[in-house]
Assembly symmetry: C2
Homo-oligomer: 503 residues x 2
């Protein structure tokens, strides 16, 4: 009895000596199966922004789960837009307010490319292309391997932070930990569609956000080395589809080949004129509006780990664009990517025709200083300079008869990049909290390569924004077979707990 | 009573004065609805070469219909190959033998692109994109407008000649007309797949064809001006698919854009390096093996109608490749056509990824003098010259690590062009018969732009080959919504009757 009593007293002393981060971690470790179950429950609700019925189901689910944990929630609605889930948790005596943003919608899917339905979360022992195999979900109390992967659309982008926040709140509630800041949650339902209504929502409800000191964006991946990172900005994004026209109908490639224009060839020649062999965009003025880097940003870049060789090996690449420059450096420049090409068919469906159109889907990533419309204007001007008559829709016969080369250019809504000053004082506290949670120093990075509508917060609301991503970089974000590595979910729970409880 | 008797006698006198062509035309005019019904019956049998069950149904149907008309038919079979329908009709006293070739298979279809099922023949008052509308099939005795169109896969390419031959034989049988030559029919079941077994069939059964004086190939379209034409050759054809590789998985276009290779851009640069802005192929030695034209061919070219402006207007083109040269001239050179492009998605399915492969399907049309494999060797050498490591299948990780640029090149079986001397004596008789049938002078053309396995007949069997096409040029051959203009079917019946009965 005596020895048992001493042991209990010792354990109690250890427990009371735990920091909030340690207490939350202990709670999380004991409830990993339950957290996974909740994650799967959320992932089972399809979440493509156009699917209005299921988008509403996602919003309802998220709001209800936060409400259960004491957060005052509200669905902000606007005609024709997915609801924005808003939540607030006020802490008596708190001296600051953290805004926390994530999104519950996901990229469109092509189910034929997936191993299983994108909406049927499946647990794998490792990536399917790295020796993993599918396994049953564990029962409560069973051991969970942190290298396991959960496969589903939005497992990485961007439902993981939502579930990690719920788990951190559970830990706080169960263990009696109080956040040290007031919290305002915002969960977007159309981030993958470019958040077209978020600006209007923020304007309408700006009073709700007036007291936020800093917004934390919980999206995107950690560093490729699996090190945690805190980022100070994100690139902007703009899209353009370009369609080149040949004859007014598909032609037999024998009877007309060598005489009729070949749209796929003209498109190839046009695209080839946009970029040199080293990946430099050769569209006039493409780099002219890029904002120069400051000293802190240069210093942060210099501190980034040299991870080029490992990354090239992992991705199976013997060459990258912009030889001699690293990935973090390249992300500080605008990018022009061909994200899709189509004309006729390839493979078994190919037929002997000259397809009468060819289309390229272009993605232009923007950095600080780039205006989305102006950047697309440069691309369109380049298309004109190459001799194309640019039209906004399929050309009529009169237009066809008048112009040797015709390109249809359609744009979709884009938004600019945003960057927060790296000297922001609260950023140092957040970095310290994340470092404690991760057990290793967090990387400070000037910008994420991906895009988020940060400009609405920095420019419209006038608040600084920091990015706190938790997903593994190899999560196949935006592609088929998206998968979250469970260790990253656990890091997310710990990191959110640390930030919510930081001094 | 008296006047009626005189009228009948007069009609009988007119009938007896009719040439065989006129008699056959009269019969055809009285049976257009029945001919159409038979056409639709044949078109309802799907005929993609890979669809072995339906290919057999086509062969059985064709053989049975010719047998009904007194042709001794036989299905030539070979393991794994569609049957070749062989038929012979021997005429006592005939001094020559005509070989007649057509094919009953059709190009693959993408049903989503069709107005109706490709296998449900539908009658239209005109082209669907030129004000036509679908109508019911007429009842026997009802009037048939020669401008009507029959929509279905293979309506133009190449079931129309089969049905026209059956109708011509009906006319001969019903009106007691005897062919003036022995006839040997050959109907191919995999022409659209490149006739991979036809050579073996002809070798095995060459005794059956030993007495053929000239082969008539009934395939392809008449001139764009709707004038009838007799052609003395066809281009050859060879295919190559080229796939360019990026990372070993699709990457997020934000997190990696401007650093990761973009396969679609590298493919565009490669394709652009193959052809100049005027449509000239700039692959080294591409034109070196082209056989020079003879005097008769030059003279025939000079006699071709100048139809460039009408054709450009019809096709909605303000520019064509090889400015200053006409279509018939351009068809006497090899052609390089991009018949398909694919990488990721365009339009609504496009996502923000860098697709990890991009593929182009290339079609190389060949002229006399070009060896198919050697021409593809030139293209492949060009790809290597552009810095690509060429592989025959998807690269493994080791290959990826070693080579900055990787292209998978796959070839499919091709065959060479063939041309018959334009001075061939029997060609003059055939041209005269066709001119009588059409009521206007037939054009003599050195080569068709499309491809047919003529080389097997010219090179393997050592026989001259002439092409007698009947389809309208605007039949959407090989593409969706293929349609035959009925006037062209009637011309086919009349032309075959004229040739079978020529002195």
């Amino acid at each position: 009895m005596r020895r048992a009593t001493i042991l209990l007293l010792t354990l109690a002393a250890i427990a009371s000596a735990q920091t909030p981060v340690e207490t939350a971690r202990t709670y999380r470790q004991a409830h990993e199966v339950e957290i996974l179950q909740q994650f799967a429950e959320l992932l089972r609700i399809p979440n493509v922004a156009r699917d209005t019925v299921n988008i509403q189901r996602n919003a309802d689910y998220v709001a209800a789960e936060f409400a259960k944990r004491g957060v005052k929630t509200q669905l902000l609605s606007s005609y024709g837009a997915p609801p924005l889930v808003f939540g607030e948790l006020n802490v008596p005596g708190a001296t600051r307010t953290l805004g926390i943003y994530a999104h519950y919608d996901g990229q469109p899917v092509d189910p034929s490319q997936w191993l299983q339905s994108p909406w049927e979360p499946t647990l794998w022992t490792a990536r399917h292309d790295e020796g993993g195999h599918a396994i049953e979900f564990p029962e409560p109390g069973e051991k969970v391997d942190p290298e396991w992967r959960l496969y589903a659309r939005s497992a990485g982008d961007d439902k993981a932070p939502i579930v990690a926040l719920l788990a951190a709140l559970d830990a706080f509630n169960q263990k009696g930990i109080k956040p040290t800041a007031n919290l305002k949650f915002l969960f977007d339902g159309e981030e993958e569609a470019g958040s077209p209504h978020l600006g209007a929502y923020l304007t309408t409800h700006r009073d709700k956000f007036a007291d936020v000191d800093v917004w934390l964006f919980c999206d995107g991946p950690v560093h490729q080395s699996r090190k945690p990172q805190l980022l100070f900005g994100a690139r902007g994004d703009a899209h353009m589809d370009v369609t080149i026209y040949g004859a007014n109908r598909p032609l037999h490639s024998g009877h007309y080949g060598n005489w009729a224009p070949v749209p796929a060839m003209e498109l190839a020649q046009l695209l080839a004129s946009m970029k040199d062999q080293n990946g430099k965009v050769i569209i006039e003025e493409f780099y002219d509006s890029v904002a120069p880097l400051g000293d802190e940003e240069r210093a942060a870049l210099a501190k980034m780990p040299n991870y080029e060789d490992e990354l090239k090996t992992e991705l199976g690449l013997a060459w990258t664009e912009g030889q001699g420059e690293t990935l973090p450096e390249r992300l500080l420049l605008p990018a022009l990517t061909v994200r899709g090409l189509s004309s006729g068919h390839t493979g078994a469906l190919a037929t002997n025709i000259i397809p009468n159109t060819a289309t390229a889907a272009l993605d232009v990533r923007l950095v600080k200083g780039n205006d989305p419309e102006k950047m697309l204007d440069l691309v369109e001007r380049h298309i004109r300079q190459r001799g194309f008559h640019v039209v906004p829709e399929d050309p009529d016969e009169e237009t066809r008869q008048q112009h040797p080369k015709i390109a249809k250019v359609t744009r979709s809504r884009g938004y600019p990049a945003a960057r927060t000053e790296m000297s922001l004082p609260i950023a140092k506290d957040i970095a310290a909290a994340m470092t404690e949670a991760a057990g290793e120093e967090v990387l400070l990075v000037p910008t994420m390569g991906g895009s988020l509508p940060l400009y609405l917060f920095t420019d419209l609301l006038g608040k600084p924004v920091l990015l706190l991503p938790i997903a593994n970089h190899d999560n196949n974000q935006h592609a088929e077979n998206e998968s979250l590595r469970l260790a990253n979910l656990w890091y997310g729970v710990d990191a959110f707990a640390a930030v919510m409880a930081m001094e």
